[in-house]
Symmetry: C2
Subunit: 316 residues, 2 copies
């Protein structure tokens, strides 16, 4: 068993990138992006090949004016065939809106860090697990097809609490799966993960969760975002969150900034022969438009400056 878990599976043949820029990216940017730009962004991302996009969050508009138009943006996203449009919901109230608006998927954050959970949601992790059970009951009672994914945030450490015990992450993954949600994912909310930690954490949780755990959410705060993705890929994980231009962070995790850049992640996967369905010219053109929409904000990533290698251009 131990021997087996140390042997890498073959790399996935297909990689799925979930674009988080419209939610995780924009939520840390004060200047509100007009709804029309968000809709253009989603349309262009869809045309570039993206089939999973988190379009916003159902939180009170006064707390996050940037995402106050989530219902409208979601309604547009749902017109695009085959697009899985997801929203973040912090609690039952948000989940009820996601169900009412027929989001394809709702992502419920659950901090593995007790201190982060209190700072972010004013609830201990186990209280959030109880909420998640209520969300699942409400979804089922409504006969809704909205999938529920629980994102275990600060799964690799926390700027407030410091270390987060892997055993606590494992305990919460089990608890969450027991509530009957569809999926669970692991998030390095504050950019503390390294490839060895990623390997360890997925080796601990994959045997418990199986196919219900198939997504990694990594920040590039200290330059390890793509190394962490590779560590997860080796264990068979094939779905990753990313933000175009590497924007993003967490308002309750001081110092955190920069999700893995969508375009760099797409490049790494394509270079490794993992199909993503992304059109690089379209992605980079969209990144340039985003830079214009977010004038004054710092965008990140490397591919936009270096361009594709000659070897990939020849075979594109």
């Amino acid at each position: 068993m131990q021997e087996q878990s140390l042997r890498p599976r073959s790399l996935p043949r297909v990689g799925i990138i979930r674009e988080m820029g419209l939610r995780d990216g924009l939520q840390s940017i004060a200047a509100v992006m007009p709804t029309a730009h968000k809709i253009e962004w989603i349309r262009a991302a869809y045309e570039a090949g993206q089939r999973e996009i988190e379009v916003g969050s159902f939180v009170p508009a006064r707390l996050l004016p940037q995402l106050a138009d989530t219902a409208e943006v979601l309604a547009f996203a749902k017109t695009l065939p085959g697009l899985q449009a997801s929203v973040l919901v912090p609690n039952l109230k948000g989940a009820e809106r996601a169900i009412a608006e027929s989001a394809c998927l709702m992502l419920v954050p659950l901090s593995a860090s007790h201190a982060h959970s209190l700072a972010n949601l004013r609830k201990a992790p186990d209280e959030v697990v109880a909420d998640i059970a209520r969300i699942r009951a409400a979804r089922d009672a409504a006969g809704s097809g909205t999938l529920i994914e629980v994102g275990i945030s600060t799964a690799f450490g926390c700027t407030i609490q410091g270390r987060v015990e892997p055993s606590e992450v494992v305990r919460l993954v089990k608890a969450v799966l027991d509530t009957g949600v569809d999926r669970v994912s692991l998030a390095d909310t504050v950019g503390y993960a390294d490839p060895a930690m990623v390997r360890e954490m997925f080796e601990l949780t994959l045997p418990i969760a199986g196919d219900r755990l198939n997504c990694g959410h990594f920040h590039d705060t200290r330059g390890l975002g793509l190394a962490n993705v590779y560590a997860a890929l080796e264990l068979g994980v094939s779905r990753f969150d990313a933000c175009l231009g590497g924007i993003g962070g967490c308002p309750h995790a001081p110092g955190a900034s920069g999700n893995v850049a969508t375009e760099d992640l797409a490049y790494m996967l394509a270079s490794m022969g993992i199909a993503t369905g992304q059109d690089f010219d379209a992605l980079l053109a969209l990144r340039a438009r985003l830079a214009g929409w977010l004038a004054g904000e710092t965008l990140h990533g490397s591919l936009w400056r270096a361009g594709l290698p000659k070897t990939m251009k020849e075979f594109a």
Copy 2:
């Protein structure tokens, strides 16, 4: 055998970072750094824990004025106890100088790309292999203790030629080892490597070279530098080239820029529990001084902005 090669060995317990900023970094920067700054850099890097530093290159001064003071810089570096001071030598003439000046190690580049080899040295790879045999003979004839390392450049692709066949890299590694040199290393000179390529190339060459191949040289041109390091670490490779502030590139490889940043690499290794002997405060202070010395040049890397995670500060 195949089964065995697919199983990752345990990660190395110690990682060695060879600082390449003074050679690979500076050689693409036109403004000549005063010798006094180079000496300060080496002294501070040594005090920060670095024990392998490439201090310059024995090439004609008219071709590379930036490195014209290599003999003087090397003489200083050799006064620091336990420091392995290396120089790059492009040919026999350079090697004779390295031997005369008693460099600890001379690094001889050999392009796996035929086109790059012609552009860089005006010789085909096999002519360079013949030169390397002459360099080894000259070293032995002189009774010199200068180690010879051959760096296989463009081992993962080339901006001029495009694809470089892994079989050609394997052939050259064998040919080079047959000349009796001490070491061989693999370099992604132009930033084309991805973790799957790194894994494949080291899996092909490690069984041939054994302990004589224990160094990876990665550029971060497209953001994959540290992911590539991790892929090599998993195969037991424990020595990596890097440049403080991620400076560097190759003048004969258009578009290439940015070696892996020393400070980010040191952080990744330390975070994974791999001892490097580096003092982060000293490294980051030196990076700040380097930024001053190179005013106008773009430095790279992430750690300097984000700082160490709370979890590492607590246990530092």
